[in-house]
């Protein structure tokens, strides 16, 4: 529909343009009338600007907008950290991932069955690491990497999974899917060309969804059954 209107507008503009080019007379509504129209329009714009500048700043985004390069670097760091995790390297984990939720379960059984339930968000990645002693406690931490949508940090919006211990069975319910919808009011490419990399390069228009996983720390002599990845084993 909007395309038809656009075509119609272009047709009218082109036809009027040709008409003006061929004519010998100027098109005019009369200076006084035009002054009123222009003055009124400018006044409306000025009032709208005052309203806009007094209302919209309440929704101002105070966070720094991540650039495509920054987001790419964060995504690479997360992928590398996950790869390192598989090979038992947990050194820089805290720098790249944040601990969103922690659990602690007293556990004195000999073996633990881990059940990963598949929700609308798939199956959670679970890593397990043996403690140096048998302290009768399972510690679980939900790690989540930074999520950026169009350069804006939405990590806090991500829900945590649910962990339920029933006897010797630990059930991991995947977090519910988060739906994020937003409108972004930006000044436009002329205003961002020299400050934020510019619109022409589509600098900010990319997204990174952070990797997430659960890290279990289990008593030394416990046996685990389930689809998990061991660290250092």
């Amino acid at each position: 529909m909007i395309n038809i209107v656009l075509l119609l507008v272009i047709f009218v503009v082109v036809s009027s343009g040709i008409g003006i080019l061929r004519s010998n007379t100027k098109l005019s509504l009369g200076t006084r009338k035009i002054r009123w129209i222009l003055g009124g329009y400018t006044m409306i714009l000025a009032i709208a600007t005052v309203i806009s500048l007094s209302i919209l700043p309440n929704h101002k985004n105070d966070e720094k907008i991540a650039t495509a390069a920054e987001m790419s670097s964060i995504e690479d760091a997360q992928t590398k950290a996950i790869d390192n995790l598989y090979s038992g390297n947990v050194v820089d984990l805290d720098k790249i991932f944040s601990e969103k939720k922690k659990w602690s379960f007293p556990f004195n059984e000999k073996s633990l069955d881990i059940v990963l339930t598949e929700g609308e968000t798939g199956i959670m990645s679970v890593f397990a690491e043996r403690k140096s002693e048998n302290d009768g406690e399972i510690e679980a931490t939900y790690h989540v990497g930074k999520s950026y949508i169009d350069g804006v940090d939405f990590t806090d919006k991500v829900h945590s999974p649910e962990l339920l211990l029933n006897g010797q069975q630990l059930t991991v319910n995947n977090p519910a899917l988060v739906t994020v919808s937003f409108s972004r009011f930006s000044p436009g490419f002329a205003y961002s060309q020299f400050s934020k990399g510019g619109h022409f390069t589509q600098e900010n228009r990319s997204s990174v969804i952070g990797r997430d996983f659960i890290l279990l720390k289990v008593p030394n002599d416990i046996e685990i059954n389930g689809d998990i990845s061991w660290i250092n084993e």
């Binding site: 343009g17 709208a48 907008i65 490419f189 002329a190 997204s207």
Partner: protein, 247 residues
């Protein structure tokens, strides 16, 4: 020795003032085109969506991009219009020559570009406030501007509009030189774009856009616009000097 000694700059100023009043009508088309641009911007000037394991997202952009592009087109058309006979013959009310007439026209185009650049910012606020109240926004993120960003952005908008006005002025002068250009220019322009696109790897349009759009140094950007606009306007000046006084 003359009874009345006239200075060139005084006549330019008089003609410029006269043209500001006489060509006032072009601003009505500015309002109409700006309102149309607001209408087209209302559905958002860009959008994105995607999903992953944990997040499903969609977002809409509300920017001044469409309004600015429409203003560039307006400036291009306005510049062509003021080269038409109906407007050009107004100059003969004054003691004038081609250069004075052209300089006053350029000053008028510069003033129009400044006005258009300012109203681009103001009308963006109008449509953003309309979108804020009348669109179903789930949540809003507003990218604010620092004073420096605001000033640079405003000057950039004005320069983009003036660049198009300069190009339009040259096109207008060419058409007035020979009506055949009315056919040749669109053919070369659109034909070139089509031929460029047929190869599957359009370069010309992209390179021209990137020459200005990818410039990250504001000073260099000003230089680029100043040089290209000056070349276009000097060419117009050169061509108009070859035209008959009044036909």
């Amino acid at each position: 020795m003359y009874l009345a000694e006239v200075k060139t700059w005084d006549i330019v100023k008089k003609q410029y003032r006269y043209k500001l009043k006489s060509y006032f009508g072009v601003f009505t088309s500015l309002i109409v085109i700006q309102l149309l641009a607001i209408l087209f911007s209302f559905n958002g000037t860009g959008s994105g969506s995607g999903s992953s394991n944990s997040i499903q997202y969609d977002f809409y952009y509300y920017t001044s991009d469409i309004i600015l592009i429409f203003m560039m087109i307006w400036a291009f058309i306005t510049a062509i219009i003021i080269t038409t006979r109906a407007y050009r013959y107004d100059d003969f009310s004054f003691v004038t020559n081609r250069v004075i007439s052209q300089v006053s026209n350029i000053l008028f185009l510069l003033s129009s570009s400044i006005f258009a650049g300012i109203t681009v910012y103001l009308s963006t606020n109008l449509f953003q406030i309309l979108a804020f109240y009348f669109k179903n926004n789930y949540s809003i993120i507003v990218d604010s501007l620092t004073v420096t960003e605001f000033i640079i952005g405003m000057i950039t908008s004005i320069l983009y509009i003036f660049l198009f006005a300069s190009a339009g002025y040259l096109v207008g002068i060419l058409i007035q030189l020979h009506k055949g250009f009315l056919l040749i220019i669109p053919t070369v322009l659109f034909g070139g774009l089509i031929l460029d696109g047929i190869g599957g790897d359009p370069r010309v349009f992209e390179n021209v856009t990137m020459f200005f759009g990818q410039e990250t140094s504001f000073i260099l950007f000003i230089c680029k616009i100043a040089i290209v606009s000056s070349l276009l306007l000097l060419a117009s000046l050169g061509i108009s000097n070859r035209m008959e006084v009044r036909k």
